[in-house]
Symmetry: C2
Subunit: 457 residues, 2 copies
């Protein structure tokens, strides 16, 4: 029983699709945050559910850790094999298997990315709404319970994954859920797997909900005199029941990054970026109502556009904040973190965080999916200065504890991975032990992404 | 270790709030379907989470089954203690603990009923949308993953329970989820508990999402020449993205029942009962769009009303179908069952079911939350004629197998209880064993509602 034996047996099974080359391994040891890269011992590229099952079975017998890999865009070290073992790269299981336009759902393999799915859906008048920014794989998005800019209207992966095919630790293949819109038939294994970060099973197929392309889409950009006014606008908009498709807060530091990157040219003030979906009349009504609310809260201008190109430019800039922000401090890396609190505590959470960052001297844009009470910091740190990483961790720590204190969660959408694990007990209390009990029941040998989410040893 | 010992110890704990009187026990042995009443050995009326914890702990030590009881309105025998033991009546834990109007959520004890919550919410401009018809307790609704007429717009209990306090089999008290709108912090224990029918834990507190009262509500009643046309209208309405608040199909037998009961006076044809929520202009736009679609499909009339009294009469009649239908066959009982299929298979599922019922000579109204692909039959059976119960079971069996064959589920909202348990393996395949593994991990002595949902012995 050893990792070496597992690798040899998997090589017998899939031949050259098991790689131990340093370059392939290094690529699968990277991450988009501050965690030290650790290459896995080997990388396997399965082509079918049956292959995944056979590989996992071997790993279970040989006590070899196995970590699923989508596109490597997760932010808390989820897909890094810190305990060694095999990285299971799902990118070659990337077919859209079925599109059920009448039922507004699609069945896909886990390596399909969200942009790929939306491209394949173009002719149907339907789209897949969950949009975390990165062109992540749907398997990875389900595993981390991803969401993003449109969750305020269309929900997160939690709401948009209807059914799964999953390979369990012992190689069993199960199907959870169905294409029916609702069910009361037993425990919700789909929701248990969504967000389990590859620690309870490997997702080999997903059925996801689709939405009809709205008749009309309108976007707007509004600067505010201060963050508080922007947040109050958000709260009132949500309470008035305006069905916003997107409502993002962007702080002045983030605006500066966008301006420097050349994507846009905006006043360096707190902004809301918003988008409205509906019928022609419905979207117009939303824009007007939102405009009134924003004005009441001192909005310093309100430009809106139904023009596709301008909208694309706006959301492209929003999606590229992460990379744009790196330009604020040449040579830096970003420690990206997120928390989520009840809307009523959002102003408090945001303002205290902003104040603390300002006092620390750290540079960090603050942006957020504020309609959900979710916001992000991207602490810019010089890799050559360990004290900056320490300061960023200290500020993150403070944000996390504040979120818990305000009745929220230490991560709204990035996930636990290894980065947020230390807060799990504080956030969940006695319930955290129950997560470990479930992990032990389903993966008694702890081979599935060991060390992530829960500790079972 | 015995049930008797458990009862004695619980009596020591809560005194007269533990009852073994035959009338109280009989009341808690009843159910609203065809299952033979079985009184529990005792009924306990806890007043606090700590009491529930202490009682469950005693039951765990004494190997005494414990079955939570809400209002007794479930339909698959969920709350009946078929294996004896203690019925835990939650009706005295019935306080609305917190209303967070800004966050649009409320924290309630499990014995609060949905009507009670909505009464307490009246002054806030908010309402709790899930509406299964019966004035069920919220704890029971969460436990059975209930939904009802408004799920097409606002979701089921799955989407509307944000957080729970739960007592586990060994008496541990845990809190799952939070008041944040979303989270990626670990396994979704909230969703695991919702729909677990008291087999994994006893819900002692719920945080539920609320909705803003719509500015405008409009309802309509439309007769169609046949079921197919009505179903096609539903499919197209959903696909056009019309955000229906309610869309119910009512077959001619159900219409006859409503007419006999005196609630309404409608032509004996298939009907759609619909409701639209929105702004003044938005609801009007929905009505018009729906009207056009209905007309295209041969709708034989389209009366709509924004009048509160008329709407109340309509939904009151809809909610009373169950009791009205009993008037179609004096002295009868109803075997009520539900299935849910993907929308594209709804016409097939409904029409084959209707045909089979007609051929059998059985009387059964068919009504359904068709926007979700969910529909119900209420087989009217004479308790003195066992052959009628057998026939109803045969027809139910056929419906269930048809739903599975069409990619659906044997229950969209009623739950498993004992009535649907025999179909679980067929619906879930290898995943059914995983449910049992979870049950064993969390309730190793099988004291929590034993015999429901899964079999673990």
């Amino acid at each position: 029983m050893s990792v070496e034996a597992a690798i040899a047996r998997v090589r017998d099974l899939i031949g050259e699709r098991l790689s131990t080359s340093p370059s392939v391994r290094d690529l699968h040891g990277q991450n988009e945050s501050y965690f030290t890269p650790v290459p896995p011992d080997a990388v396997a590229f399965p082509h079918s559910t049956e292959e995944v099952s056979a590989i996992v079975k071997i790993c279970n017998e040989e006590l070899c850790p196995i970590v699923a890999w989508g596109t490597g865009t997760s932010l808390e070290g989820h897909a890094v094999a810190f305990n060694g073992g095999i990285s299971l790269d799902m990118s070659e299981m990337n077919r859209v298997l079925e599109i059920h336009a009448e039922d507004m759902d699609a069945v896909v393999q886990p390596g399909v990315t969200r942009e790929q799915l939306n491209t394949e859906l173009r002719a149907t008048g339907l789209f897949f709404p969950v949009d975390p920014g990165a062109n992540a794989s749907l398997g990875g998005m389900a595993a981390t319970r991803a969401s993003g800019t449109t969750a305020v209207r269309y929900g997160t992966m939690r709401e948009n994954v209807m059914a799964l095919e999953v390979v369990l630790a012992d190689g069993r293949i199960i199907r959870t859920g169905s294409r029916a819109r609702k069910s009361s038939a037993g425990y919700d294994l789909t929701k248990m797997m969504v967000g389990s970060e590859g620690t309870l099973g490997i997702i080999t197929e997903l059925t996801v909900r689709l939405q009809g392309q709205p008749e009309s889409i309108t976007a707007a950009v509004c600067p505010f005199p201060d963050m508080q006014s922007a947040v109050n606008t958000v709260i009132q908009t949500i309470q008035m029941g305006v069905p916003m498709a997107r409502i993002e807060i962007v702080d002045p530091v983030a605006i500066r990054a966008v301006n420097i990157s050349g994507a846009m040219s905006l006043p360096e003030a707190p902004h809301l970026f918003v988008e409205f979906h509906g019928t022609e009349a419905g979207a117009k009504e939303q824009v007007e109502l939102f405009g009134e609310i924003a004005k009441e809260h001192g909005c310093m201008g309100f430009e809106w556009s139904a023009n596709l190109e301008e909208r694309n430019r706006l959301w492209h800039a929003r999606h590229n904040f992460y990379y744009a922000s790196l330009k604020l401090k040449p040579g830096c890396r970003a420690l990206s973190t997120d928390v989520c609190v009840p809307i009523s505590r959002l102003a408090e959470a945001l303002l205290e965080t902003a104040e603390e960052i300002a006092e620390s001297g750290m540079i960090s844009p603050i942006i957020g999916h504020v309609g959900d009470g979710n916001f992000h910091c991207g602490f810019l740190i010089d890799p050559a200065k360990p004290e900056e990483l320490e300061l960023a961790k200290k500020l993150t720590h403070s944000m996390n504890r504040r979120a818990i204190r305000l009745g929220g969660t230490v991560t709204g959408e990035h996930g636990v991975g290894v980065g947020k694990k230390r807060y799990m007990e504080e956030e969940h209390g006695a319930a955290y032990a129950v997560m470990a009990e479930i992990k032990r029941a389903l993966d008694p040998k702890n081979i599935l992404n060991p060390g992530k989410v829960v500790e079972v040893n």
